[in-house]
Amino acid sequence: MKIRKNKYYILHFLILIYFKSAVAYENPNQFKVEADKSIEYFEKQKIYVASGNAKASKGNFSVKADNITAFMGKIKNSDITYIEATGNVIIIDQDTIAKSNFARYNFKDKIIILKGNTQSIEAKAFKLQSKKIISFDDLKKIATSEGDVKLVLNGPISIFSKRINAKFDKINNNLISASAQGNVKIETKSETITCNSAKYNNETNLISLEGNVIIKRDKSILTGEKGYMNLNTRKSKIESSKSKRVKGVFSPIQK
């Protein structure tokens, strides 16, 4: 009985030693890179290049790509200043996922730049897509995007535009506000709105519309210079300008 008890003590002791040694040198600020093909180091440029299904991580931040290049500071024992990832890039930062063909992440300024034919940033409450560039400031939590931008909100509501800037919550990355400029098109379940520019506010759940506003619902069309759309009540309001009057074409639905 005593031997059995002692055996358990030894077993526990050995397990404790094993786990202690396993986690003893885990540094949360350590930058880890793995690659299937190769890792290169260029001494003069102070850069590392990981090729072939490369994976990099630092704390909650992780990147997967065909190739990852890490740029080091020029000072002795300095940390990574920024990384560039190319080919099938997937960046995961807590609940936010970014996808692109090229990405640059600056560890000091915490700015992600996504470039290519298609890139996206996706979180629980939104998805931002662009065909040119998305830049995301992780400190200020501001995203700026250009080139056939599409912002999909819960609802579902899709906002299309040439440019969309969005501001996110610093704690859980929820969308606070968004502004769209140039060829704005908003699609909901029941209506399609086009205008020159639009602003979305998550607190009021209102989308304010400006410039050549056209609201199409079923066969009815409302036109004006300014407008609002309440995403809670699904009611829209349209206003005229001094020079232009509000116009409405209403077509009764045939029963």
């Binding site: 030894i10 890179v33 690659a35 299937d36 093909k37 890792i39």
Partner: protein
């Protein structure tokens, strides 16, 4: 008769067992190395020198120092075999130190091949490399190996299954499933 063993005695047995295994391994490895050395060591044979100290000054200002326990020179085929060589390549106060259990200087003394416990160290560059075999050229400082390799450069560590290195570490490429950690 019941066998009673206290935790303390089991610990002592375990520790003694581990120490015995480690000591046995150490003695066994050393005896293997020594037997190899003795087999190769024949100072009476022509072309063999005990306690080697070679210095070579190159026109470009580079200096190569080689210290070894034993040197065997084949003048016909122009190669040198060294036991426990320590090579220092000094280039403008930048010293690269290379050690191994065996070293071969081949191809009209232009290339080298190192075997067993190969280590490269450069304090200025904060560069350290460890592998089991390494081949290279003196002139260019290019090196390569098909053995697993571990490298430490400043605050980073790289490991992989083979290596290609240029100009004593100006460019390093580690092949295979490679890992990099930066602290």
């Amino acid at each position: 008769m019941k066998l009673k063993l206290s935790a303390k005695s089991i610990f002592i047995i375990l520790i003694v067992l581990i120490i015995t295994i480690l000591t046995f391994n150490y003695i066994n490895r050393n005896s293997q190395l020594n037997s190899q050395k003795i087999q190769d060591f024949d100072p009476l044979k022509e072309g063999k020198t005990v306690g080697v100290n070679i210095e070579q000054n190159k026109p470009n200002g580079e200096k190569i120092k080689i210290i070894a326990d034993l040197m065997e020179e084949n003048k016909e085929e122009k190669f040198i075999k060294l036991i426990n060589p320590i090579t220092e390549i000094i280039k403008k106060n930048n010293v690269t130190k290379i050690t191994s259990n065996y070293g071969y200087i081949i191809n009209n003394y232009s290339k080298f091949k190192l075997d067993n416990n190969v280590n490269i160290y450069n304090s200025k560059k904060q560069f350290a490399l460890k592998t089991e075999e390494l081949s290279g050229m003196f002139d260019t400082g290019d090196m390569y190996t098909n053995s697993p390799v571990k490298i430490k450069i400043r605050n980073s560590k790289i490991q992989g299954s083979s290596l290609s290195l240029k100009n004593y570490g100006e460019y390093v490429k580690v092949f295979g499933k490679a890992k990099l950690t930066i602290d």
